[in-house]
Amino acid sequence: MTLINGQVTPKITLHQGEVLRWRLVNATPFRTLNLKLGTLALNEIAVDGMYLGTVDIWPAGKALTLQPGNRSDVLVQAPANCSNNQCPPINLTNNDNEVIATVEFVAGGNPMPLPTSAEMAPLKTWNNIDTSLVYTSEPAQFQEENCNVQDDMCINGITFNADTVTKLPLNKTQLWNLWTLDKDHVFHIHVNPFQTVRTGPDGGQETVWMDTMLVPKGSTQDKPVQAWTTYENIPGKAVFHCHILPHEDDGMMHAIQIE
C-alpha cells in the first residue's frame, strides 16, 4: 500500500488555472515510482533538491520515474477553462494502475503562467563539470553475493565496515564508474551530488545533477553508469550506498574520505 504523507489516496485541491509546486519524495524503502497525473503534465524544475535550470515537461501519459531516495520538484497547472466551472477530478497514479492521490479542481482560481526555461536558467544549482578534466576515476560494483562477509551484500566485494575507506581528492574532478552484478541497484552518495546523463522527457540525452540514481541490471564494468563530481570545500568522511534499504542494511555501503 502506497501512502502520501501517511494518508491513503489523499485528495489534493487546486483552484482552476492555479499553478502548484509539488516537492515529491520517494521515501519508500525499495519501490521505483512511475508517476503520472491524468491529463496533466508534470513540469519538472528540480531533481534531488537542485534546480535543473530549465523546465522538463513530462507530458500526460509519460511517467516521471523516481528511485527510492529521489526527489523531484514539479509544477502542476490546473486547467483554467472548465465547463460550468467543473473540471473532472484526475488521479495521481503509480505504474498506471495504482491510484495514490486524487486531484480535484475548484472554481475561484487566479490563472497563473508556468515559468519559462529562460526564467529557470539563472536558478540552475550547479554549473556543469567539464568531464574532459577527470583527475581520478573510481569503480563501484554493487553485489548481492560473492562478498567477503558470507550472506551479506557489498560493494567491490567488501561488505560495509567503517575502516575500509576510499580516498577521494578535494577540489578535483572524479568519475564514478558504476555497475551491478545482476540486479538493479540505486547509487546514493552523501554530501556531494554528482552530474550524470539521463534520458529526458523528449527522449534525448540530458545532463543533470542528482544524488541518487539507478544503476540498472545490465550495466557492466565495460558499460558502466557514469557520474562526475568535483569535491569542493568539504573534506572529511562520508558514505555512499545502495538506496534500496534492505541492501544498504545488508552492507551495500562504502566509506569515503575526501581530502
Partner: protein, 61 residues
C-alpha cells in the same frame, strides 16, 4: 557545498512564476493492503503553504 543540496529558496530570487503555493508529498510504502473500514479517504493533504514565506525545503538525504 553541503546544505546547498537542500533547497532553501530566497523568495526575492525566485521568478514570479515560482511564487506559488506548494505541497511536500512524501510517498511511502507499507507492505499491507488498505481496507476502507480503517482509512478516511477524504482527508486533504496538509502543509500547503506559500513559497513566498520562504524556507521551502526539499527532503532528506
Amino acid at each position: 557545498m553541503e546544505g546547498t543540496l537542500i533547497v532553501d529558496d530566497d523568495p526575492a530570487q525566485l521568478p514570479d512564476a515560482l511564487k506559488v503555493k506548494e505541497n511536500i508529498l512524501v510517498v511511502q510504502y507499507v507492505p499491507i493492503q488498505a481496507t476502507t473500514s480503517t482509512v478516511d479517504e477524504k482527508i486533504t493533504v496538509p502543509s500547503i503553504r506559500s513559497a513566498a514565506s520562504g524556507n521551502g525545503k526539499t527532503a532528506n538525504r
